[in-house]
Symmetry: C2
Subunit: 155 residues, 2 copies
């Protein structure tokens, strides 16, 4: 079930956001502690996303974090057999240290169960709802990039 | 002089951030009201940067705004015959309305003369300085995307 969902997410991203294919963004894993909440991880190789300093281009790092948040929303909805149009409304990103690993991985932070419950409650009653998703890129020394996106879903 | 600088900026971006070539990001114009301050405009076609709704992918919009800010810093330094390593430290973006025009253009907002003077003063005395650059994508109805990036320069 999960593998099918992740494959569906990756097909959706590559088909419908072609620049994600150029960045070679791929779905890695999804750990979900409770129904309707989960941590999605997605990765991309450094080479096509490198910048003038042979670290990762900020635009690619932000795009990776943006689609981890988008994919998290996609999986939340799929898990509940809901469909809806997902758009990012705001994004805040902090580039703390250069990202130099050959394979860059971004992971969603654990979702707050109450926030997710409230998100679905509003979505069911108002046909529209919003959820913030935090995403990080880390190495052994701690966070390299921290991101927060606000996603709006309209049924 | 300006045309040479803009051609140099575009070569630099395409050579050193290859994903910008995939997005077909190109330098459009640079209006500079005073020495050391200016509004850079850069564009990209919608097609390679479209998303699932045939509007522009948020990741591409953010990347375009990020390089307009980066390019503004590059041109500021070149204008003063200074060189330095430019990195973005933070970015905040708001996606207000879907971007559907076939050619997407992002433009830096006018820089504050005092902020630019202070940026160069610190850069010359401390070898390191920071400047915020605001960038917008607009249509006839107003802003579609508003972005602010904080760029750090190390000589």
């Amino acid at each position: 079930m999960d593998e099918q969902l992740l494959a569906k997410l990756e097909r959706t991203l590559r088909r419908e956001m072609p620049i994600c294919a150029a960045m070679e963004i791929a779905v890695a894993s999804w750990d979900h502690a409770f129904q309707g909440g989960g941590q999605l991880a997605m990765g991309m190789p450094l080479v096509p996303n490198r910048n003038h300093q042979d670290s990762a281009f900020a635009g690619s790092l932000n795009a990776l974090c943006t689609v981890v948040g988008w994919g998290t929303m996609f999986l939340l909805l799929q898990q509940q057999n809901l469909s809806g149009n997902i758009v990012i409304r705001r994004g805040n990103i902090r580039y703390r240290r250069p990202v130099r690993m050959p394979h860059v991985m971004a992971r969603g932070l654990p979702l707050d169960r109450e926030a997710v419950d409230y998100f679905f409650e509003l979505l069911r009653s108002k046909e529209k709802s919003k959820l913030d998703v935090a995403v990080e890129i880390v190495d052994a020394q701690g966070p390299l990039v921290t991101f927060k996106g606000s996603y709006v879903v309209q049924r």
